[in-house]
Assembly symmetry: D2
Homo-oligomer: 144 residues x 4
Amino acid sequence: MTLFSFDRQLRFGDCDPSGIAYFPSYLNILNGVVEEFWAAIGFPWSELIAVRKIGTPTVHLTCDFSRPSRFGDHLTFAPRIGKVGRASLHLAHVVSGADGVRWRARQILAATSLVDHHAIPWPDDVRAALLAHLRVDEEAEATL
Amino acid sequence: MTLFSFDRQLRFGDCDPSGIAYFPSYLNILNGVVEEFWAAIGFPWSELIAVRKIGTPTVHLTCDFSRPSRFGDHLTFAPRIGKVGRASLHLAHVVSGADGVRWRARQILAATSLVDHHAIPWPDDVRAALLAHLRVDEEAEATL
Amino acid sequence: MTLFSFDRQLRFGDCDPSGIAYFPSYLNILNGVVEEFWAAIGFPWSELIAVRKIGTPTVHLTCDFSRPSRFGDHLTFAPRIGKVGRASLHLAHVVSGADGVRWRARQILAATSLVDHHAIPWPDDVRAALLAHLRVDEEAEATL
Amino acid sequence: MTLFSFDRQLRFGDCDPSGIAYFPSYLNILNGVVEEFWAAIGFPWSELIAVRKIGTPTVHLTCDFSRPSRFGDHLTFAPRIGKVGRASLHLAHVVSGADGVRWRARQILAATSLVDHHAIPWPDDVRAALLAHLRVDEEAEATL
């Protein structure tokens, strides 16, 4: 397993009349990156949500947008696991363009039952995959 | 001038396959509420952005989603001015449904020139309108 | 019952870097108007979809965009029933701004079971409401 | 030059509470595919729109949605040039999943000046690139 990152060109439809990224569109892209991340660790949402009826709603989000992006810009999204809680997952996102960091986000996802939208602990196999990925992230950080 | 609030029913297209509000759509709605807020204090974005070439990009955002909303839910968005900086505006948002608070957000907007996307101080008339509204919010809070 | 129309100001987030309405956003708004229409005739989607498990997916859409709209423009959406089929609903939409028609659309919705996404006939009460509204539209047209 | 196609997995955020693709999101994806298409023929929108001030708004769109798509589905978008007009471009889109065609669209783009949003003829280099691509499409069709 390697550090997960996701390249995405900023599209026309992601931008607003001032010519830069519309921040709700940024978060729509981010959600797609998180969806890819789950697939990468072996638990695609189409299985997690549709088959196992486990939701992963975002319960907290902090974003700092430091530099604007224009449509056509090539961006790299790098989500890292910060912590695996009993029923939560803390992610730290860095989004970079050609000139360095454009924005950062911290996001907390909760594990919920889609039957009643209440919190549930991560199932053992999901938890194991998250923890394995967390170790990969930590080792990669240590060697930087 | 009175406390500004904005009612918005959550639409089908705002929700995701798990049946609750998709958080990027929540932020798209929030951005529309902020647009209404600017119009309410006398500076519609169509004038601010298109005529005066002043942008108000979001540079910071913190959201806490405490309870899910389903499509058809009636929501009230209540943005309050927390602080008017030299070149920034701090907003605190409370979004409520029938059963109380659904989510809260703190947002910092920067004043920028749309010519070069750099920060600029608020023009005097804009600043005066923001400060006048801040006083309304403070007085309303004091009487609660 | 009267002719149904829906006013909606075009928002910043509905527009693109060329400064005019982004057409997928137009269709997102249109879908919200159709949702309002169903509520107006007594069958809100929150009941139809969530309780009765009847979907109304769009199976055909034709749009003609004749004049651009800019953010801040006040638009009126006027959907009319063209035909009520056994398992379909034909709508004709006219979207107007201050200077007249901006765009038109013809849309066919199918009645489907949300269990298997197959076509089903409209239930009698839904059909009756659609036909009653169709008569209102026809009478209003006749008196124009 | 080869036949252009674009693969895109349907994301969670593209889908609605009935569990299938939300059609305005489909059109947002389609617009991104058209953006990729322009880049593929040598005229990325970031140059066409931002530098040369030429817009390509959609003036007509017809869609037929024949089968639903669920989130996680792998889709292939295949746009073909139908006709290159003096100031227009006709595209025919076929969108397929594992079980065949999911939906089709015909789209007409107009060449416009972004200064006044009026129609203009395609510049010679743009027209030459579109015609070259049209020949590639026709030859590929002929050999099928």
